[in-house]
């Protein structure tokens, strides 16, 4: 086997990373605009804020500026007043109903956000009003990452083991049991599974804590809950891959040469089935790290997942953008990692 480092060219990775930049930029700009056009804003409250207080807040969060350098005059009298003040300062000209402010372009919400982003500053949350989004992500992302990685490895461990066993003993009771488990695990919603496990292991058997994030004992239930669905999927994928390769000619050759069964199964048949697993590995990791919203809520885990939902409900613009940027970057990187891994396991792929 050749040294794997010979196979990976740093140039290729650099090239892929470079391509990630426009992808991220597109994601950022699209989300930014869609978010601002979503009805309802961060300061729409059950007890409406007095106009002056609202004005103070809008100034502080730069919502008094136009979103893009090209805009139409708002209907809302208060917003109109703000825009007129902006135009007086930065200049603008009108083409029919459309106003263009070239002088103030860099001051618009979108461009000032992009400028801020270049410096690595994600802004200040509008809901948690003195906390910077960088701090929120710095605190919560490692927790989600740990949770996601643990679930990822557990899912692969269980999935590959069960899938291989099921394939080797195809059509036996073991195979049927694994397939049943897989159907169950795949169709069971997260929160139902969580509730069931908590009931059994925390409230009845009193073996494990029902929630909180204090150490490995506290990791068990959330990780298992999160890992079950991907483990079921991996088990199916592994099973069909291994079954397929067990019927290949090279397996027969290996058996004829007297290679023992364990080596045949692990080295030849399983190695051959790894391709599809690697393909789904990247997106699956991204999904597990960032998509653990319900698990984090149910187990009171201080992770980032919850903000994918709550920040949008709160219209906390900077926080929504912050988690979006992190999520998008993570997916881009995970996909690059998958392609690189491909090259390592499959000699036919150049990277």
């Amino acid at each position: 086997m050749t040294n794997i480092f010979d196979k990976i060219s740093l140039g290729y990775i650099g090239y892929r990373l470079l391509w990630g930049v426009p992808v991220l930029l597109a994601v950022v700009i699209t989300s930014f605009i869609v978010l601002r056009f979503t009805p309802g804003g961060p300061f729409d409250r059950e007890k409406p804020l007095p106009p002056n207080i609202l004005k103070n807040l809008r100034t502080q969060y730069r919502l008094d500026r136009p979103m893009l350098p090209v805009y139409t005059m708002p209907k809302d009298a208060r917003e109109k007043e703000e825009i007129l003040a902006f135009e007086e300062k930065h200049g603008a000209f009108a083409i029919g109903p459309v106003h263009v402010s070239l002088g103030g372009a860099l001051q618009t919400q979108l461009f000032s956000y992009l400028g801020q982003l270049l410096k690595g500053d994600l802004g200040v949350s509008m809901k948690f009003t003195q906390v910077s989004v960088n701090d929120i992500i710095k605190r919560t992302f490692p927790v989600s990452l740990l949770l996601g990685l643990l679930a990822f490895f557990l899912a692969f461990l269980i999935g590959i083991a069960l899938g291989t066993a099921a394939a080797y003993y195809q059509d036996s009771w073991l195979d049927r049991a694994v397939m049943l488990f897989s159907a169950f695990g795949f169709s069971m919603p997260n929160f139902v599974l969580a509730a069931g496990l908590i009931f059994l292991f925390s409230l009845k058997a009193q073996l494990l804590p029902p929630a909180l994030w204090e150490g490995p004992l506290y990791w068990v239930l959330p990780v298992v809950t999160l890992a079950l669905a991907p483990a079921s999927y991996i088990a199916r994928l592994t099973r069909s891959g291994v079954i397929e390769s067990l019927h290949e000619d090279f397996i027969r050759t290996a058996r004829a040469k007297g290679v023992n069964e364990r080596m045949i199964l692990l080295k030849h048949a399983l190695a051959n089935a790894l391709g599809p697993l690697v393909t789904i590995g990247g997106p699956m990791l991204a999904m597990l790290v960032t998509g653990s919203f319900i698990i984090e809520l149910v187990f009171a885990i201080p992770g980032m997942g919850r903000y994918f939902v709550t920040a949008v409900i709160d219209r906390d613009y900077p926080l929504v953008m912050g988690v979006t940027v992190v999520y998008a970057s993570f997916i881009v990187i995970a996909n690059i990692a998958v392609d690189v891994l491909y090259g390592i396991i499959d000699p036919r792929v150049e990277v």
């Binding site: 309802g40 009171a300 919850r306 709550t310």
Partner: protein, 531 residues
């Protein structure tokens, strides 16, 4: 292969045992620690900038105001030992206790209040609750950026005296100085640490507990403040867990990880009824159907009356199961001015007659009007119940529409609001002024197009009198205009709070503002808390 695996396995298990040992609880005995759950994360622990109930609940354990509320919502001395009004209730002077200190031992003076209150009003602070002090002379103009801080009527006359000039008579003002946004603010710390001044490494406090650890989104741990002016703390450590999911808080309570849950899972309430762990109390919250008076379908007084008459309020607690109190009046139970029996009673026969008179016999020809509500299980249940009752009692079909909450808030305060919506009001301070003032014609929160000079006058005059009988009558008459004569809104019920707490906790009282002061809470010595 096996030879390689075995020692690895042995190590693996050793690691696990090591880890499990490492995560045992803190070294303090169980009965010196109090662990509570709040339903989510505080939005901001800077008293000036906080707005939500969770921040309020946490700040109450950290800071102390000039005055405070008893469990019966009487105003008691806090850091002020007394206060006096002038004759016209347009000036209030607070006299602070002797030898007040911050938790670092530095003196705490009236200047810390002056600084904090002016900081709240400073437009640069952009505080959402700045309007809380708009009763003070010059406050609103300063907040609008029209004047400077000197023109605001807040003055520390000396270290122990705070004089506040009011722009209108406000006998309820001592209630206002209980509220979190009026807590004293340590100028030096704020100026040195900036926005991070509330973090454990910087903060100094005036209340019972000092934060020592704050894991955001998860837990805050606090230790007693040796300089607390109001007594001795009952425990050596307070832990506040931020559990957004109510089921989780319940599980943690049942499994013994937490001793007090502020917001109990409604589904679990029936199984806890009568249990010594369960506390049910009133809450100063009223839910109602808001009616848009200038909507074509709602213009006819007889239509509104028929709608109000055909809602059996007892059905709402029956579906919600949270111990809510059916109500036909605006002021909630537990507040001065509560006048059950003043509202329009349930009477479906009379309602049908009224609707026939209005030109809709058996509901025929009645337009399909919309009732808007915000997302949430409880709101959904209320909306469906309203819809069913009107269909059953009046034969009319209304459309119920849900909106995500931010969209809902914007739509009901827009220029084109829906004919009806479901709303609530939760007391900011427990005086009728807070509820009644909402529907004055000049109120910024009045989203109903209801404007009645008679109502305004009754509410304005009510605060001018010392005589509780006259005041009660004024509020009763004003409520009649609102819910009986004009029917600008249809009250449904007064809210309730449902709390789980260990029965062997002492000095734990809740008031109907949803407050609990944990400073003196301790474990009973009769039964050792070994849970």
């Amino acid at each position: 292969m096996n030879k390689v695996m075995n020692p690895f396995r042995a190590h693996f298990f050793l690691y696990i045992i090591f880890f499990l040992g490492a995560c045992s609880d803190s070294a303090l005995p169980r009965d010196r620690v109090l662990r509570v759950a709040v339903p989510g994360q505080p939005a901001n622990l800077d008293p000036n900038k906080s707005t939500d109930a969770i921040s309020g609940m946490m700040l109450m354990q950290i800071h102390e105001g000039l005055t405070l509320h008893s469990h019966e919502l009487k105003v008691l001395p806090g850091l002020a030992k007394s206060w006096t009004f002038n004759e016209t209730y347009t000036e209030i002077t607070y006299h602070l206790r002797d030898n007040l200190k911050w938790s670092n031992g530095q003196p705490l003076t009236a200047h810390d209040f002056e600084y904090g209150w002016k900081r709240l009003l400073n437009p640069k602070t952009a505080a959402e609750y700045a309007y809380f002090l708009f009763d003070i002379q010059g406050a609103e103009d300063y907040n609008a950026g029209k004047t400077e801080a000197q023109s605001v009527g807040i003055k520390a006359v000396d270290d122990k005296t705070l004089r506040v000039k009011l722009r209108r008579p406000a006998p309820y003002f001592p209630h206002i100085s209980t509220f979190m946004v009026t807590y004293p603010i340590p100028k030096e710390v704020v100026e040195k640490a900036g926005d991070n001044w509330t973090e454990p490494e910087n903060i100094i406090v005036s209340g019972p507990f000092v934060p020592v650890e704050h894991l955001h989104e998860y837990r805050m741990a606090l230790k007693p403040n040796p300089y607390w002016a109001l007594g001795k703390q009952g425990v050596d450590r307070l832990e506040i867990y931020m559990t957004a999911e109510k089921t989780t808080a319940l599980n943690l309570y049942v499994s013994g990880h937490i001793d007090l849950v502020f917001d109990m899972l409604p589904m679990a309430i029936p199984s806890y009824r009568g249990d010594e762990n369960y506390f049910n109390g009133t809450k100063l919250e009223v839910r109602y159907v808001g009616v848009q008076l200038d909507d074509p379908a709602m213009k006819d007084n007889r239509v509104r009356r028929a709608l109000a008459m055909s809602l059996k309020r007892e059905e709402f607690p029956a579906v919600l199961k949270g111990g809510e109190i059916p109500s036909e009046v605006w002021l909630p139970k537990g507040m001065f001015g509560y006048a059950p029996g003043t509202g329009i009673p349930y009477n479906p026969e009379e309602a049908k007659k009224l609707l026939t008179e209005a030109g809709f016999p058996d509901g025929k020809g009645f337009p399909k009007i919309t009732l808007l509500f915000r997302a949430g299980d409880d709101w959904q249940l209320i909306a469906q119940n309203v819809q069913q009752q009107w269909k059953k009692n009046l034969g009319i079909e209304i459309e119920i529409q849900v909106r995500e909450q931010k969209v809902f808030f914007r739509e009901i305060s827009s220029d084109d609001p829906p004919p009806m919506h479901l709303a609530r009001w939760i007391a900011d301070f427990p005086d009728p002024e807070n509820f009644m003032g909402l529907f004055k014609s000049n109120s910024g929160n009045n989203s109903l197009a209801f404007a009645s000079p008679a109502y305004d006058k009754l509410v304005d005059d009510a605060v001018l009198t010392d005589d509780p009988k006259i005041r009660f009558k004024a509020y009763e008459d004003a409520q009649k205009i609102l819910v009986v004569d004009e029917i600008a809104m249809i009250p449904i019920y007064t809210g309730a709070q449902n709390i789980l707490r260990r029965p062997d906790l002492e000095n734990l009282r809740f008031n109907s503002m949803g407050d609990a002061r944990l400073g003196k809470v301790k474990w009973s010595t009769k039964t050792t808390g070994d849970k």
